[in-house]
């Protein structure tokens, strides 16, 4: 079966920072957590997979396609959500309808249900939204077209306890379909341990550890202790 994401010999230099990933494969139906300290390369890696930034060398395949050679094909199947992503200055309902036209797989019923679940009124403008509401809106836009691969960079920013739980539930609903995968970058290790099948620890642009949360922690250490110690 085609891997959801396959990276080989990836090198991407940004100033003095170098992201170097010789090999990373993420299969369908898995939830992978990306962890590491600030500047470890989590966001860069997600942007590369989403095709938003180009590597200096190496090969990235998402669902068997190159995000650079076939950006439209990849983006119709891959959702990329960050806590800083811009949203259109349109009322929420209008924006959701506008964005829906770009995705053949958009599910209007799911979108309506997500708006309802995340308590987002369709008449509100992005400028009037709180940080948490903006995050919820980005989640709706990312989930409503039923992406085959969901890339999330700090998805819980600004969310309170209740909405964080709703977000996690929504993510788990995505991977009920065995063909769909999720990659989440987060500093909230408790959440990641709860929902991920596998955690990739990045350290100064390289993969430091890769495995199930329980395996990685081991030796009586928590995942948090491990990341703190590695710095």
């Amino acid at each position: 079966m085609t891997p959801a994401i396959q990276i080989t010999d990836l090198r991407c230099k940004r100033g003095t920072f170098l992201l170097d990933v010789p090999d990373l494969k993420i299969g369908p139906g898995t939830v992978v957590g990306l962890v590491g300290r600030n500047g470890a390369g989590k966001t860069t890696l997600l942007q590369l997979v989403a095709g938003l930034t180009r590597p200096d060398s190496g090969n990235i395949r998402v669902l068997g396609m190159s995000p650079f050679d076939d950006p439209v094909g990849v983006r119709q199947r891959v959702a990329y959500m960050t806590d800083t992503q811009a949203v259109l200055p349109l009322p929420i309902g209008t924006m959701v309808r506008a964005v829906s036209r770009f995705y053949p797989t958009w599910d209007s019923e799911l979108a309506a249900s997500l708006l309802d679940r995340f308590e987002l009124p369709s008449h509100k403008l992005p400028g009037m939204l709180s940080k948490g509401e903006e995050t919820r809106l980005r989640l709706v836009l990312a989930l409503a077209f039923k992406p085959t691969v969901l890339l999330m960079d700090e998805p819980a920013t600004g969310l309170d306890v209740v909405f964080r739980r709703v977000m996690l539930t929504s993510v788990l609903e995505v991977v009920r379909d065995p063909l769909r995968s999720v990659v989440v970058s987060s500093h909230d290790l408790a959440d990641l341990e709860r929902i991920t099948d596998r955690i990739v620890v990045l350290r100064q642009g390289r993969i430091f550890a890769d495995g199930a949360a329980a395996e990685l922690a081991g030796d009586g250490r928590s995942l948090e202790q491990m990341i703190a110690e590695e710095g």
């Binding site: 650079f68 076939d70 983006r75 992503q85 995705y103």
Partner: protein, 462 residues
């Protein structure tokens, strides 16, 4: 009021530099551009004084001093407030107490900074700063700022009324006597202050709420293609919908400005203060809003969002440039109609054409001189910001505000004789047009070259 004091050019420039630094600290584009303009005004106005004993006494300095003081006090106050009261949200006090505390600290800080600057001026051998305008400016800033803080929690209508009233008051103060370049110098700081009051302090949602009816008219589902989308068509529709909303901003204040002229035409009055006032406010809105918004909303929001949608980045880039070009054309079209109507009135009525066609320097500056670099640089910036990079967006904004306004002002002031009339402006305007168009084309070419290099693989793949 005490005898007019003439600020030494060096010291005035120093003060303006302080304002610029503080404005940068505050990270406020409006303040920064205003301070830069203030600095430019001082330097250029002072320039002819060197070695020219025949130059008339600068009897207008007090009002300029006041305007400049106002702006710099505002920049000083905001900058220092930002540094001193950054964590204001964490102050353990009620909203009212917090607001009063901020107003008080702002006033005290402004007073102290001005006292220090005045002392420095004397110490450097300058004549000192006229204390009355400075104090009045500080008072205005302190009280105004305090009110704005209080009004931050007030209903939208109250905040809007206050902001408009303050701007109207400022423009009224300066407008009626605008005839020559010296007059123009007086107006600039007030226009800038009005801009800050209206746009620098208001949250973005206000600006959007200003024309909700146009918004509803402009954005309809029918504007978008049916799914599955043709990506190019979809991105164009998306940007076009945004353009419609932006156009609402152009039409509304423009209509107010145009309508305000009719009574004065009907009465045969060339420059009634009331009409000039409304025209001033209207044209200010007319000119400022469209040229701030296209890049801030269209460039900052639509393009980065589009870059994450399933659309070819190159298509987004070209759609962005096309959209910017359409906006420029539409804006010029609106101006053309505006002028044609004005000129037509003179032909069709008993009012002399010269009267009907007369335009204030204010209008020339704001409606014609400023938009041109904005047009040109918007095109360049659109090419630039179509990268999903915050740094590029930042650079585009720097180019737009930091380059275009001072460039336009420099050309205008250098081109005009010291006591220019309206007629003198046409030549200056042409120079502005030529220079800024050139600048814009360079920016556009640079953006296009970079885009082509960055997106060569996409193009080859296509």
């Amino acid at each position: 009021m005490s005898a007019p004091a003439v600020a030494t050019p060096g010291f005035a420039g120093f003060r303006a530099s302080v304002g610029v630094c503080l404005a940068i600290l505050r990270r406020s584009w409006g303040l920064m551009s205003l301070s830069l303009v203030g600095w430019l005004v001082v330097v250029l106005e002072s320039r002819p004084a060197y070695g020219d004993p025949a130059r008339p006494p600068v009897g207008d300095w007090p009002i300029e001093e006041m305007g400049l003081s106002f702006c710099l006090a505002w920049a000083t106050a905001l900058g220092l407030r930002s540094q001193l009261l950054g964590p204001e949200l964490y102050l353990p006090a009620s909203a009212r107490t917090r607001s009063l505390a901020i107003a008080l600290v702002t006033t005290v800080v402004s007073t102290c900074s001005f006292a220090a600057l005045a002392g420095l001026d004397v110490a450097l051998g300058g004549p000192g700063v006229d204390p009355i305008p400075a104090l009045l400016a500080i008072f205005t800033v302190g009280v105004g700022f305090g009110l704005l803080e209080v009004l931050d929690r007030a209903p939208v209508w109250a905040r809007s009324v206050f902001a408009l009233a303050l701007t109207v008051a400022l423009v009224t103060w300066a407008m009626p006597t605008v005839r020559t370049r010296t007059d123009l110098l007086r107006v600039l700081p007030f226009v800038g202050a009005g801009y800050i009051v209206l746009f620098g302090r208001l949250p973005p949602s206000w600006r959007v709420n200003f024309a909700p009816a146009f918004l509803r008219l402009g954005i309809r589902d029918t504007a978008f293609p049916a799914a599955p989308a043709d990506p190019i068509q979809a991105i164009r529709a998306l940007l076009a919908a945004e353009r419609t909303r932006s156009l609402a901003w152009r039409l509304l204040p423009g209509a107010v400005a145009a309508a305000s002229r009719w009574p004065s035409y009907a009465l045969g009055v060339q420059h009634s203060p009331g009409a000039d006032l409304i025209v001033g406010v209207g044209t200010t809105l007319f000119a400022i809003v469209p040229f701030i918004l296209p890049i801030s909303e269209f460039g900052m929001d639509a393009v980065p969002v589009a870059m994450t949608l399933p659309v070819s980045p190159l298509a987004v880039h070209h759609a962005a440039i096309r959209e910017a070009a359409i906006r420029c054309a539409v804006q010029f079209g609106i101006f053309a109609v505006f002028e044609a109507v004005r000129f037509g009135i003179g032909r069709l009525t008993a009012i002399p054409v010269e009267v009907a066609h007369s335009i204030t320097l204010m209008e020339v500056l704001i409606v014609y001189a400023w938009p041109v670099p904005m047009f040109a640089l918007t095109l360049g910036a659109a090419a630039w910001v179509s990268y999903p990079s915050r740094l590029k967006v930042f650079l585009a904004k720097v180019a737009m505000i930091g380059v275009s306004i001072p460039a336009a002002m420099t050309v205008m002031f250098v081109s005009m004789p010291p006591h220019a009339t309206v007629d003198d402006l046409s030549g200056a305007w042409l120079r502005v047009l030529a220079l800024t168009t050139l600048l814009g084309l360079c920016a556009l070419a640079l953006g296009e070259l970079r885009a082509r290099r960055a997106w060569r693989p996409y193009r080859e793949a296509a």
